[in-house]
């Protein structure tokens, strides 16, 4: 049993990688279309990024520089775990800097810094089917995509407006890709949707448990669904980041005490750190205590 654990570069065997690469190529050729693939059992649980991990493992080469984020941050536990996995099984260079990375695996966010040509953003996707909560059957939803029958989705969005006065979808907001397929952008906040449009980077989506891969090639139209009289709009925050003073970025709400104290800070930790390193300071950063500095180190 001692010779048990020997694994290939990036964990997956080459046959599996080839199968996944073929699925990726097909996905790139048909933007927004969900390509079934023979997802493997990975050594981390389904629902924890196995789709993204398989896509990353299949496209990763020894010279790549990998960044892994979860909720926009490099230091959340699952991001740490996935990054450590690739360091272990692929001995690959890792970074937290968006601009240095060739491959960025993400869960729930798109980095604030605009991605460039040559970069690949790999999304972890829990439920790839945008129509799933309107129609639970895969046999039906595949038919609806084939016939471009998206009326149900528009009715859902319309009902939101009729009931609430606005569309009540805040994340995993459906988009139409290159005028054809309605696609789930994964549970990123709708704040990030515009970043997908005509992005220079290749965007790959992996859903391990649901066994689907889809893609948005560089320079592809990605349009969030809306109505003429109710145009799509993104979240607005009242205050800038309390640490770096950034505006027009997505913020996390941090609870400070049990008396209703709150602060809002960048969800993208690399963006925030980079701004601070360049001398930007938010309201709360101006007076850091000795204690918090130590804790942050």
């Amino acid at each position: 049993m001692n010779d048990l654990a020997t694994y290939n570069f990036a964990y997956l065997d080459e046959q599996t990688k080839r199968m996944i690469r073929r699925a990726i190529l097909k996905a790139v050729a048909i933007p927004g279309y969900q390509v079934p693939f023979a997802s493997r059992e990975m050594p981390m649980p389904y629902g924890w990024g196995t789709g993204g991990v398989q896509v990353t493992a299949s496209i990763l080469g020894p010279n790549d520089v990998l960044k892994v984020i979860d909720q926009g941050a490099d230091d959340t536990t699952n991001a740490v775990s996935i990054r450590a996995f690739f360091q272990k099984v692929a001995d690959v260079a890792v970074t937290t800097k968006t601009k240095d990375a060739t491959i960025i695996q993400t869960r729930h966010r798109i980095p604030e810094e605009t991605l460039k040509e040559g970069q690949t953003l790999v999304y972890q996707v829990p439920i790839p089917e945008p129509l799933r909560f309107l129609e639970p059957r895969e046999t039906e939803t595949r038919k609806m995509h084939a016939l471009e029958e998206y009326g149900l989705m528009h009715v859902k969005l319309y009902e939101d407006i009729a009931r609430n006065g606005h569309i009540a979808t805040t994340y995993a907001y459906p988009v139409k890709v290159e005028g054809r397929y309605v696609m789930d952008p994964s549970p990123t906040p709708k704040f990030d949707n515009p970043k997908m449009h005509m992005s220079e980077a290749l965007q790959l989506f992996g859903a391990g448990r649901e066994k689907r891969i889809y893609a948005v090639p560089p320079y592809t139209e990605v349009v969030s669904l809306d109505f003429e009289d109710h145009p799509f709009e993104i979240q607005q925050f009242d205050k800038p980041c309390a640490l770096c003073g950034a505006e027009n970025v997505y913020l996390d709400e941090v609870v400070l005490d049990d008396k209703g104290g709150r602060m809002f800070v960048c969800s993208d930790t690399d963006h925030c750190e980079d701004r601070r390193a360049h001398g930007h300071a938010g309201q709360m950063l101006a007076r850091p205590t000795q204690e918090s500095q130590e804790a942050a180190e």
């Binding site: 049993m1 048990l4 694994y7 065997d13 079934p36 693939f37 023979a38 997802s39 493997r40 059992e41 990975m42 050594p43 649980p45 389904y46 629902g47 924890w48 196995t50 979860d70 909720q71 926009g72 230091d75 959340t76 536990t77 991001a79 740490v80 775990s81 450590a84 729930h108 966010r109 829990p126 059957r137 895969e138 046999t139 609430n164 006065g165 805040t170 994340y171 995993a172 549970p187 990123t188 906040p189 709708k190 448990r209 066994k211 689907r212 309390a242 997505y250 913020l251 996390d252 709400e253 941090v254 400070l256 800070v265 969800s267 709360m284 204690e291 918090s292 804790a295 942050a296 180190e297």
Partner: protein, 368 residues
């Protein structure tokens, strides 16, 4: 003051250290050996092998120990190992008619060729806690130790009379699928469905099987036969031109015999539900055969009226490794999405309060 949530790496390492400590438990007690797990917790090992789809008692025992006895965790560990193994080929179908049976019971015939053989069963034990196990008293040798009888299958008896449908056959030219190598698609053929059920969660299949008995997709079942024993696994080697034996595996097979009134296309006859599981697991094999029969609605022009008959529902949710991963992923951070929802609920709440205040003013004005 804001304290950045740093130190994920150290926290994870410390958590795993604590886990290893809890797994080992009191150091003054000897640790359990893999051999002990294989020998004394054999049914746990069997379940892990069955639902991990990997027949290797030692590795399954290691997984059970590593998982601190958590079955689904152990299944997960063994599956993640299995998936990395190269595929040499596909074995020939095992011939359960040649099984060396150590247990074989039929509920449809009082006596039959080969007889009823109870074997190592919990049936008819009185479920009283046994203090003799605490004292580790000596255990008597069994009356008959070696299994070894070949006995005819009950389904073959019925088959001789033409009263039961034939053994399951796929259409001409059908290439056998492999659930672990190809993406799932619905509708799914019976070969793939049986693969999914064989590695499906015992508890989930048990509950579904139970639901068919209580009227949610009733199939009028009888246990034609349950048999447990060793069968030979053979692999056809093209270089040699004949099949070679890879060894023996213990399996549990259940052939459920179900009443069928006939349809426009078929005469009245008995139909079958089939269950085959690694190791000794009657509960699983029986549940599997009930669910298999329930899922065969299209073959018998039956209406789908119950969950157990709905293949997309059953197959999509039978896998406990997938299910546990997705249920438990909810504990991962979701604060980006939650922030978006928080923002929306606050906004809607403001609108609600404003509308209500407006409404109250309106009421006052009307009252004045």
């Amino acid at each position: 003051m804001y304290v950045a949530v740093k130190g994920g790496e150290a926290a994870i390492a410390n958590a795993h250290r604590l886990l290893a400590d809890r797994r080992r438990g009191d150091r003054s007690l000897p640790s359990i050996t893999i051999e002990q797990v294989v020998e004394q917790l054999g049914l746990a090992v069997d379940r892990v092998m069955a639902e991990a789809s990997l027949y290797d008692p030692a590795l399954a025992a290691l997984a059970v120990r590593q998982a601190r006895g958590d079955m689904i965790e152990a299944i997960f560990i063994l599956r993640a190992y299995r998936t990395t193994l190269p595929r040499f080929g596909y074995s020939e179908p095992v011939d359960t008619a040649t099984m060396k049976v150590e247990r074989r019971v039929s509920a449809t015939y009082k006596d039959l060729p080969g007889g009823q053989l109870l074997g190592p069963t919990f049936d008819y034990t009185h479920r009283l806690l046994d203090p003799s196990l605490i004292a580790d008293e000596a255990v008597a040798e069994p009356a008959a130790k070696e299994p070894g009888e070949h006995v005819m299958r009950v389904s073959d008896i019925l088959d001789g009379e033409g009263l039961i449908e034939g053994d399951g056959r796929m259409p001409e030219g059908h290439v056998m699928g492999d659930l672990t190598r190809e993406p799932m698609e619905f509708p799914m053929a019976r070969d793939l469905r049986l693969q999914a059920l064989a590695r499906g969660d015992e508890g989930f299949l048990l509950a579904l099987a139970y639901s068919t008995q209580r009227g949610y997709g009733r199939t009028h079942p009888f246990v034609g036969e349950v048999r447990i024993g060793e069968v030979e696994v053979e692999l056809d080697l093209p270089e040699l031109g004949f099949a070679v034996s890879l060894g023996l595996i213990r399996v549990t097979e259940c052939q459920m015999v179900n009443q069928f009134k006939g349809s426009a296309k078929q005469p009245p006859q008995f139909t079958r539900g089939y269950g085959l599981v690694f190791g000794q697991s009657e509960r699983k094999a029986m549940s599997m055969s009930l669910v298999d029969r329930a899922l065969r609605t299209d073959e018998f022009s039956e209406d789908i009226v119950a969950p157990a008959q709905d293949q997309e529902f059953v197959i999509s949710h039978a896998d406990n490794v997938q299910a546990t991963g997705f249920v438990e992923h909810l504990k991962l951070p979701h604060y980006v999405d939650f922030q978006a929802e928080l923002d929306l609920v606050r906004r809607m709440r403001r609108e609600y309060e404003a509308a209500r205040a407006g409404g109250e003013d309106g009421m006052k004005e009307a009252a004045e």
